[in-house]
């Protein structure tokens, strides 16, 4: 059984096509990153998975069931963090989380340890909490009952870098405890350390699905080189996105670096760097439709 299986998923609303035939499979036990710019369809997909929205066409299956047919029994097996989290400002975090635990029938015993871990004051009214602290409340309610599948829409937004790291450590632990995690972000760097696989969504379609290492390999490495005098003819052969400016040149090299190094060794090089392209650049490729 797949944790999530989307097949030709289409969603129209207000006259626009938010999802335009999304195909995606998430395996049980993996941490799956869902990357895309705002408006690409990440939140729409998440909302279909918890039956807030109904597909226009195609099918979505969550833990083997369609969200609408699965109903409360299916949602009991899920954890959900909305992308635009709104919580009852009048309640305290303790009251709200206790209520959620009552509704779910489990998870109450993890409220205190998780709150302590994220340094969350349970006895303040939610209206008095900062955005980051509200986000902590949202995270706690999404994972405290150890769901089979956690759907986390932009979970790290509003968290400072230290808390982001703590949160990602929690995601790994939940995965190790058996939870499948499907989490979205508009920046890949937030997820590259934790995601087993990543899908890039753009304009309602999946552009790429791969693991982080695969994306990195496809992305190649960026060469920046400065020569003694003008760039020799043929020096940049076989590279993509070549730019030449006087004695300096840059480009993207894909594949094993040995031939490139051998070529450069025979040329009057003053300075050279060869580095992995960061994943943001890869994502940009995909957004442009290159990948």
């Amino acid at each position: 059984m797949t944790a999530i299986a989307l097949d030709g998923l289409v969603k129209d609303y207000d006259g626009t096509r938010a999802l335009d035939g999304v195909d995606l499979e998430v395996a049980p036990g993996e941490v799956f990153g869902f990357i895309g710019p705002n408006g690409a369809g990440k939140t729409t997909t998440m909302r279909i998975l918890v039956d807030l929205l109904r597909p226009t066409a195609g099918t979505a299956r969550v833990l083997g069931e369609e969200p609408r047919a699965g109903g409360p029994a299916l949602r009991a097996r899920l954890g959900y963090l909305p992308g635009e989290l709104v919580l009852d400002e009048r309640a305290t975090a303790r009251e709200l989380l206790a209520h959620v635990a009552t509704v779910r029938g489990r998870g109450a015993e993890r409220i205190a340890p998780l709150a302590e871990r994220f340094d969350l004051d349970l006895d303040r009214r939610i209206g008095e909490l900062s955005k980051g602290n509200k986000q902590k409340v949202g995270l706690v309610q999404a994972v405290m009952h150890r769901p089979e599948l956690a759907l986390l829409d932009e979970p790290t937004s509003g968290l400072d870098p230290l808390l982001q790291r703590e949160f990602l450590a929690l995601v790994r632990e939940e995965r190790d405890a058996g939870t499948t995690v499907f989490l979205s972000s508009h920046v890949l760097s937030e997820l590259e350390d934790v995601a087993d696989r990543v899908a890039l969504i753009r304009e309602g379609r999946i552009a790429v699905v791969d693991d982080v290492a695969g994306l990195r390999a496809a992305a190649g490495q960026r060469l920046d080189v400065e020569f003694e005098g003008a760039v020799p003819a043929g020096a940049m052969e076989g590279l993509d996105e070549v730019r030449i400016d006087g004695a300096r040149a840059s480009g993207v090299w894909r594949g094993a670096p040995t031939p490139l190094l051998a070529r450069l060794a025979g040329l009057p090089v003053r300075h050279v760097t060869l580095r992995d392209r960061n994943l943001e650049e890869i994502v940009l490729d995909a957004y442009r439709g290159d990948a």
Partner: protein, 265 residues
């Protein structure tokens, strides 16, 4: 405990601070009108009303102001107390589903392992209980003040008026809730709820003035509430039945329609 009851308890718990404020306001309404009846009431007040054009005094419901029960009806139960309760019921009804959907607050509740129908049931029940608590406060304050002022108003009449006030404001609030649940738009819920209350009031006034339009009283929820003059004549079974039916139809409509659409878009 069923999901709907749990939801109702949570809604009431969340609103407990506001509820105290409304209770104080309603007790104050009784407090600013009823004690003045012995000083200005009876013939003196009747004389003032007699000086008004009869159509005006009838439309305002002042034609019965000369008696003690009529005075309490015209000022508290049929006017300011009713208006406050309508504001609460319509506001709460429209906000509890549609307003929370618009703000995003409903998203976590709907994603929880609870049926949408149970969310509507629980919130409708919370509305019914909140208006009941507030009407009880108004009843208790009115009964105490009537007794202190030694006015000729039967406690049974006050109870009948309170029952019908509760059913009227709750039914209108449930209409606002249902329209909100069906459309997802708070303002539409408020508009339809307020329109029903005001429209019913106007229809009742016209029915009293224009003999050919007397049938309007049959379709006016306001007339179902006050047309039988419950503070004087006691419970009006026909009115009670219609108010209960209105609330029940609204509730059933709302719980059915919310299951059929996208939420929070």
């Amino acid at each position: 405990m069923s999901a709907a009851l749990r939801e109702a308890r949570w809604q009431i718990r969340r609103a407990r601070r506001g509820l105290v404020g409304w209770a104080v306001a309603l007790a104050a309404v009784a407090g600013v009108y009823i004690p003045f009846y012995p000083a200005i009431g009876g013939d003196q007040l009747q004389g003032m009303v007699d000086a008004l054009p009869p159509e005006l005094s009838q439309a305002l419901g002042y034609d019965r102001i000369g008696s003690a029960a009529g005075f309490v009806t015209s000022t508290v139960y049929g006017l300011l107390g009713m208006a406050l309760l309508l504001v609460l019921a319509v506001g709460t009804g429209a906000r509890t589903v549609a307003g929370e959907e618009e703000s995003g607050l409903l998203e976590l509740s709907v994603a929880a392992p609870v049926r949408r129908t149970a969310l509507v049931d629980g919130r409708a029940l919370a509305l019914v209980l909140r208006t009941a608590m507030l009407v009880l406060v108004l009843f208790a304050a009115s009964a105490a003040l009537v007794r202190v002022s030694d006015m000729d108003v039967a406690v049974g009449g006050l109870a009948a008026g309170s029952l019908q006030l509760w059913l009227f404001t709750t039914a209108v609030g449930l209409v606002a809730l249902a329209v909100g649940a069906a459309t997802g738009r708070r303002v539409v819920g408020v508009a339809v709820g307020a329109g029903l209350a005001v429209g019913g009031y106007v229809a009742d006034a016209i029915a009293g003035l224009v003999p050919d339009a007397a049938w309007l009283a049959d379709v006016s929820p306001y007339a179902w509430f006050l047309g039988g003059d419950p503070l004087v004549a006691g419970v009006d079974p026909g009115g009670v039945l219609r108010l209960v039916a209105l609330g029940a139809v609204a509730w059933l409509t709302g719980r059915t329609l919310i299951g059929r659409r996208d939420l929070g878009v």
